[in-house]
Subunit: 112 residues, 2 copies
DNA sequence: ATGATATATTAAGGTATCATGATACAAGAA
DNA sequence: TTCTTGTATCATGATACCTTAATATATCAT
């Protein structure tokens, strides 16, 4: 039996944090976050900037929103997304700094 | 067609960072990292502390090692693991701080 | 109202990841 | 050597995740 998804009530702290990190574990989602760190964007702009499909972007934005990385507001027919917490910028910078000395290692990882 | 794993050469920066975050996206792996932040441990101690199987712990340690989170050294018949970069502690603290105001949101996330 | 554009949601299929169990490897003791 | 303990690897099966395509919803213009 593989990993069984827990019900919200039985999810403990560690699982919540793991889920939070999972938010940044997908290249498309991470790219979206990076782009939004440059400023508020609507979905079409994100589609353009990422090269992903509209459906993909919308779905990943939903994930990011659930995880608390982004918030959105409607403006006319557009929906504008932005980073909800400036500390996300620091988080990414820190991760990049840590990765810096290990990039080649991670690149070659075949275990996940 | 779902996600196709890229060859190391064609993996770009964003994918490397995503992979790095993926390292912390599994509860068992994250727990191991948290435990190791308390000090060097051997595999058996980690099995004991996490409640996971030996196989599971070894496998996840391999992932964490590839990602550069931990390093290991042999000492007699034991293999001791430790956090390879103290900044990982900061990374976790920062993540927890960001999550703090969004825990309930993340807990209920059904999109991933 | 209808049509056009922007975004969200859903279902289906394929791939990646994970847990399990078995097995292999390594080091020390007898 | 064999036995024991500690650790790593591998194959299998099950679940989770991602992508795609279709469809639904929303807003604005006509």
């Amino acid at each position: 039996m593989a990993q069984l998804k827990l019900q919200p009530e039985e999810m403990v702290q560690t699982e919540i944090y793991a889920k939070f990190f999972h938010g940044l574990s997908n290249p498309t989602r991470l790219r979206i976050v990076e782009i939004l760190l440059d400023g508020e964007k609507n979905v079409s702009q994100l589609v353009e900037a990422t090269g992903a499909t509209q459906s993909q972007v919308s779905n990943q934005l939903a994930c990011l929103k659930w995880c608390g990385y982004v918030t959105s507001r409607q403006e006319g027919k557009y929906v504008l997304y932005r980073i909800s917490d400036e500390r996300v910028r620091t988080l990414l910078q820190l991760a990049k700094a840590i990765v810096a000395d290990n990039a080649e290692h991670i690149r070659c990882c075949t275990r996940m």
